[in-house]
Symmetry: C2
Subunit: 523 residues, 2 copies
Amino acid sequence: MTESRPGSGGRRGRQARLTVRSQAQQKRARVVWPGLEGGIYKPLSQRDVERIHEGALRILAGVGMGGATPEIIELARAKGLEVTDDQRIRFPAAYIDDVVAGAGRNFILYGRDRAHDLDISGSKVHYGTAGAAVSVPDFETGKYRESRLLDIYDFGRLVDRLPNIHWFGRTVVPTELEGGETMDVNIVYAAAAATQKHVAAGFTCAEGIYAAVQLFDMILGGEGRFAEQPCCSVYCTGVVPPLRYGELSLDVAVAAARVGMPVDFIIAAQAGATAPASLAGALVQTTAEGLGGVALVNLVKPGHPTIFSNWPFASDLRTGSFSGGGPEEALLNAASAQIANFYDLPSGVACSMTDSKLPDAQSGYEKAMTSLLTGLSGANLIHEAAGMQASLLGCSHEALVIDSEMLGNALRAVRGIEVTDETLSVEVIEEVVKGAGHFLGHEQTLTLMETEYIYPDLGDRERPVTWEERGSLDIRARAHERVREILSSHYPEYIDPAVDAKIRDAFDIRLAPEALKPGGGRW
Amino acid sequence: MTESRPGSGGRRGRQARLTVRSQAQQKRARVVWPGLEGGIYKPLSQRDVERIHEGALRILAGVGMGGATPEIIELARAKGLEVTDDQRIRFPAAYIDDVVAGAGRNFILYGRDRAHDLDISGSKVHYGTAGAAVSVPDFETGKYRESRLLDIYDFGRLVDRLPNIHWFGRTVVPTELEGGETMDVNIVYAAAAATQKHVAAGFTCAEGIYAAVQLFDMILGGEGRFAEQPCCSVYCTGVVPPLRYGELSLDVAVAAARVGMPVDFIIAAQAGATAPASLAGALVQTTAEGLGGVALVNLVKPGHPTIFSNWPFASDLRTGSFSGGGPEEALLNAASAQIANFYDLPSGVACSMTDSKLPDAQSGYEKAMTSLLTGLSGANLIHEAAGMQASLLGCSHEALVIDSEMLGNALRAVRGIEVTDETLSVEVIEEVVKGAGHFLGHEQTLTLMETEYIYPDLGDRERPVTWEERGSLDIRARAHERVREILSSHYPEYIDPAVDAKIRDAFDIRLAPEALKPGGGRW
């Protein structure tokens, strides 16, 4: 329970950390990179954080957590925890202190390509996709339609090419499939075929977890390989707020802990509906739930890599509906990251959501405010960070591309202002005032060109007349063409054909091989 | 030179402050209000700020400021300041310390309607328009055309109806008029006819300042009334960077100081062109220039209400062109506010600019990042905050309406999270867990509905199917209709007809009386 930034430690080997460090050094030649250190924005005072912490402890020791499975209750009793008559587990403050002290921290979320490893320590910031949207604005018509398995493959291919989306979490559910092992393994397969970035997925059953491990072992080259390089983590929405564990998700979490798959233990309470309407109150409850989640995973496997992934959602209190784009969402999630950093726990939040149905100005400003403040607050994993529209009901191709560019800007802001004798430039200023009178051709200007400023790729900086000559397009129209370019050309062969054949023998893979190859006119 | 927030003091009367306070109390029933206290986001460490300050002092004492008029050089010599052979004024560190200590602070920027008074003290945040754009995307065709005097009147009417734009600064120049007293007085007249919020304008000559005072005296009811309630301030871009005063602007600043018109002393240096490309270096130079500006006004009239209005702009270093939408702009201007707060000087910055030509997603995220970070950093006046497109070359009707809504979100984020025993809600949580199981109908939820959450007006929160049924409009299309509604109906009579006739006798007013009345089919 400290705000200090751990400089060492970690549960994985020294070699892994060295690799990450060397990659980080290479990346420093660029303007932004994954894992920039956040934490400069703290929406809460230190005393506010302590009061929220104290409130959460009181809740956990008082009403505690309901909904535990018999297996969990057994483990809790074995640890000496009190289970009430109505089967609620009470966690005393000292027990939670011990859980936090012993929890997994400073670990790597592996990419299949190690260049995409994510260093989950300190306040290092990463943006990625997530979600369980059920619809997609159709690429050609813009009309909302049901999401399908093939969409996951396509969104994965886009993410694979977008530099500021650091991992690929499933954004939509394949509505043509029913929950169960087959759905779980197909989602993971579609993601793994599309990108070698770290993959995150929801699982509907423990069998899905075991199947995913088997699938990744095959892709990575043999049994046990996934355990060495767990390149997939599980979204586990393990709490049904207020303050109840969700039975099905618990089974998934337990299975993940047993096979060594990192657990993103998500609290998705909604202020004003399943949590208090007051922002501070919502943080008290969700902090309690998040700690309850970490405690649960640690009952099964102490020190297992677990993300304190508190995504405090907001309601539109006029309707009770979830709303993702308001500024309260930015405050809640930035505060959530601050609280996780107070515990020095790996943190996940949700941001860059919008209630708008398409990437318009509303979408732009709603996403920008939430993604920027969570980045500045130093969340390790900022979920839902790209593509999501319609209060998380839809994922848009164009939005993914636009949001990656926006997240580059957010990362540049996270990087901040470097103040050194050299950057202060006193001599340069004096020299220019006495000499050229401007800095345009100055050596410092040329040197800083590729490191100090980020340049838009899709964003427009033309003069109005040039912009009009080129058709007066908005960024959505330009993104539309970029999507078509990427998806009509980027068919990576990330799964060796021989392995792919074996995977198809072992599992009921629903994406036909020809769907993963160019041609067919789909794009 | 302190970061403390002054709780008292001020140059205007006690009554004026009491009025502001009582208005503030009334506003507290709302979700956001003008003058929310910022300052929670500090992009620089305290030591970084000190180093920038030290660099600025070294510059001012070394190369100093060039370009002063003979009148200013005379005043400088009388104060014992050294003037070099090439006519540069050197300001020793101790002199600057004294200037900062004695500078005007804690004053009111008056509205004509006192409900629009702005309390310029501490880190109180206000958003307003500004600019000198030369074009407007035509309301009907969207095609960029030259801006005209009538546009100022229309933009003023929009601002008059938009709650989160707290004053009206001229956004465009009337390209049909030549600079001089007639242009100056016509801009002020168009603004005064459109809104009773505080007006800010650029002036091309000292005569324009005197004419504006005469005009406001007539509107306010008699000679000397403007001096009692200076409801107009002057944008004075008094420095031609690097480190030279601009002769023409100096005459305007001197005239304003003499008639009691608050001076917004703007530094508009451009990193990479007229200031160093390194962000820290740009801050050193512009801080020196800003202090040089405050020193200048205080040479003429010690303690005169003067805004340390440092707007560090950024270049696209690939072209050398000004770029308003990048994240460097957010960092620079937030840092500028932090530096002004370090001096406890009234602060102005420029933000919410975009390089996009229309209010699209790029416009949304570029504006959001810059306006949010400057708000959180506690700038007193955030200029250019609404309507501006195309790297400040154009002002858009729809953008004004959209941006006011976005700024409401920024203000909600500035307001932050209130942590009290009551908001922590521990008892409420326990009660709900043991009882209803949700918070939807809870008394706390209903109580907080109108104070904790901000609701969109133009922003869309419908379900996808409802949104499609209503035509699948983006926010730009909705804003378009809102603009038409306002401008076809809101023709306020803020200038008494009898007074208007006298104004038209006294000045060459180019807006015909019928242009300020409904009908004529213009909207």
